[in-house]
């Protein structure tokens, strides 16, 4: 089982990202679970969401305490929230960074693999303000699954209610993230 923890700020799309990833993995015949951690929700406040993926049916309904992969949607969160808490030492940490040095600074004690992606920048270039789609792409490119096709199909299904222009921008942003993730995989 792979357990992923998403760190975001309310309104940034961490919950949506956790869901899109689950839908994409379902297309690869996995069992999935996606859920946010609910508290007093406020726009801009740190929040968490989770995705579980497994080849066997997922039965447990408990918190994710030792994730395999952590994705951080907001560059400033690494300074505020213990994003590597419980993260397995042999796991992966995927960060939205403004500059690569900042990512390394905030998490330099983490012994596992770390990849920083300039998700805000890549999102902006693709015509969206949401870094979640870039990081979803980067996740897949870095981890090696799910495929970009399945991820983009999942995105279009989950974002079905958005105008075509926004969907197109998100699909482009996801592809840019995927390329960045693949580069990260090649570097390791």
């Amino acid at each position: 089982m792979i357990e992923v923890r998403w760190h975001g700020r309310g309104g940034q799309g961490a919950k949506t990202a956790s869901h899109v990833l689950a839908v994409a993995y379902l297309k690869e015949d996995k069992s999935v679970q996606a859920f946010p951690e609910y508290g007093p929700e406020r726009s801009g406040a740190p929040m968490l969401a989770y995705t579980r993926v497994d080849d066997r049916p997922i039965r447990r309904h408990c918190a994710v305490t030792q994730p395999d992969i952590v994705v951080v949607l907001d560059p400033s969160l690494t300074r505020e929230v213990p994003v590597t808490s419980g993260l397995k030492a042999e796991g992966k940490l995927l960060l939205n960074v403004v500059a690569d040095s900042e990512a390394e600074e905030a998490v330099r004690t983490y012994p596992g693999k770390v990849l920083g992606v300039t998700a805000d920048q890549l999102a902006k270039e693709a015509g969206t303000r949401f870094p979640n789609v870039v990081l979803l792409g980067a996740y897949a490119g870095w981890v090696g699954a799910p495929s970009l096709d399945h991820l983009q199909e999942a995105l279009i299904e989950v974002m079905g209610h958005l105008p075509a222009k926004a969907k197109d921008a998100s699909v482009r942003a996801m592809a840019a993230g995927y390329a960045a993730g693949e580069r990260g995989r090649a570097d390791v």
Partner: protein
């Protein structure tokens, strides 16, 4: 929504329940929102607004009104459903007793949540236990798939001529209502065919009109009440029949209790709801190490399936009953029910867990199985309680 070749979609328990309602096509659904039930009526309202189902949606000003409207609609002959949670169910309980007494077969989805105070939005079974003696049938789902399946089964149980009672379909707040997971929906026509059409046996209008909600003095009240009690007792067989029909038709059997790896088990846990899934993972791990442990998940809580529990626990040595609710001043509800009807030789121990959404991890479940190797404790243990030895007095 995402469909794979096996027909799974990624849906929350709340969304899956709304799909069941859309497919059942109830005539009337009175609604009032409350977390963590809101996604059910929100999703269902969208289906109505999009023209995918032509239910009359009544937006009322409180849960008391929602349940009152549901009783009126049901007695007028409408197939009626609603949904609620926690304080909302508490507010409905007065009218839920009336629904049961008037034999109004209202089907209600419940996103089980702790009761105030302190105010809390997360899962436990306190709300369901408050409605325990209302006379309604009450079932609990382990996951989103079961929440869907039980909802599809519910109208046939509620509307059965021997039953004619409200049915509450519970799913744990957030851990099922808001957790998106693999769910296989049936086709719309399969659901409609399974549920069938409904005609109230005692219509208000027509050739043989009836009166409803009449005054009953000491010369009649008692007889009416006993018939109502017998109707709830009859629901056990009706539940079994509907579960069998569902299994034959769709391949998923949801019995009153589910025994998981109980063959040759020396130690067992009995519980209700979503933690059963977590416990199954723990049972598998311990079984791999050669430990003879098993699990019994209780789906049908009212009427209480005493014989099914008796059978499930026939050969086990020690049993921990885990309640996600308390009954202050006495033994917790599930434990009390099991102990009251159990004639076997197993030693029964009482635990309370997960109040107000406190996480119950696999390690907590493993701890209970370890405890069962030790001599018996007195009273109730509080699993996962911070900062003390988790012992309580009963």
């Amino acid at each position: 929504m995402a469909r794979t070749m096996q027909g799974f979609e990624v849906l929350t328990g709340g969304e899956a329940t709304a799909h069941a309602m859309r497919q059942i096509r109830p005539d009337v659904v009175p609604i009032y929102p409350i977390t963590p039930q809101t996604p059910i009526i929100q999703t269902f309202s969208r289906f109505v607004a999009d023209g995918k189902v032509d239910t009359v949606l009544l937006q009322v000003e409180s849960e008391h009104s929602a349940m009152s409207a549901a009783v009126g609609a049901a007695l007028a002959g409408a197939r009626t459903m609603t949904a609620t949670a926690s304080q909302g169910l508490a507010l409905m309980v007065e009218v839920l007793y009336i629904a049961a007494g008037l034999r109004a077969p209202v089907v209600m989805a419940v996103g089980n949540r702790a009761l105030s105070a302190p105010i809390n939005i997360h899962g436990d079974h306190s709300d369901g236990m408050l409605a325990r003696d209302s006379g309604a049938v009450q079932v609990f789902a382990e996951n989103a798939q079961e929440a869907y399946d039980l909802m599809v089964m519910a109208p046939r149980i509620a509307e059965h001529p021997a039953v004619l009672l409200p049915v509450l379909v519970g799913q744990d707040g957030f851990s099922v209502t808001h957790s998106a997971e693999n769910v296989a929906l049936l086709r719309d026509e399969e659901v409609q065919d399974f549920v069938g059409s409904y005609e109230i046996p005692y219509p208000l209008l027509g050739d043989r009109p009836s009166s409803q909600g009449l005054f009953a003095m000491p010369d009649a009240y008692y007889e009416i009440k006993v018939r109502q009690i017998q109707a709830l007792e009859a629901a056990e067989q009706v539940f079994a029949d509907v579960a069998r029909a569902y299994a034959l038709r769709f391949g998923r059997h949801l019995g009153a209790v589910e025994s998981y790896r109980m063959d040759g088990a020396e130690r067992a846990i009995v519980l209700i709801g979503s933690t059963a899934g977590t416990a199954k993972d723990v049972v598998d791990e311990l079984r791999e190490r050669g430990e003879r442990v098993g699990l019994v998940a209780v789906r049908l809580f009212r009427p209480f399936p005493h014989q099914a529990l008796e059978d499930a626990l026939a050969t086990v040595g020690r049993v921990a009953v885990l309640d996600r609710a308390a009954a202050p001043g006495t033994l917790p509800p599930l434990f009390a029910d099991i102990r009251a009807g159990y004639h076997g030789t197993a030693e029964l121990r009482s635990y309370v867990y997960g109040l107000g959404g406190r996480d119950t991890a696999p390690e907590d479940i493993a701890k209970v199985y370890r405890d069962l190797q030790l001599p018996a404790h007195a009273g109730i243990r509080y699993l996962g309680l911070l900062g003390e030895d988790q012992h309580g007095e009963s």
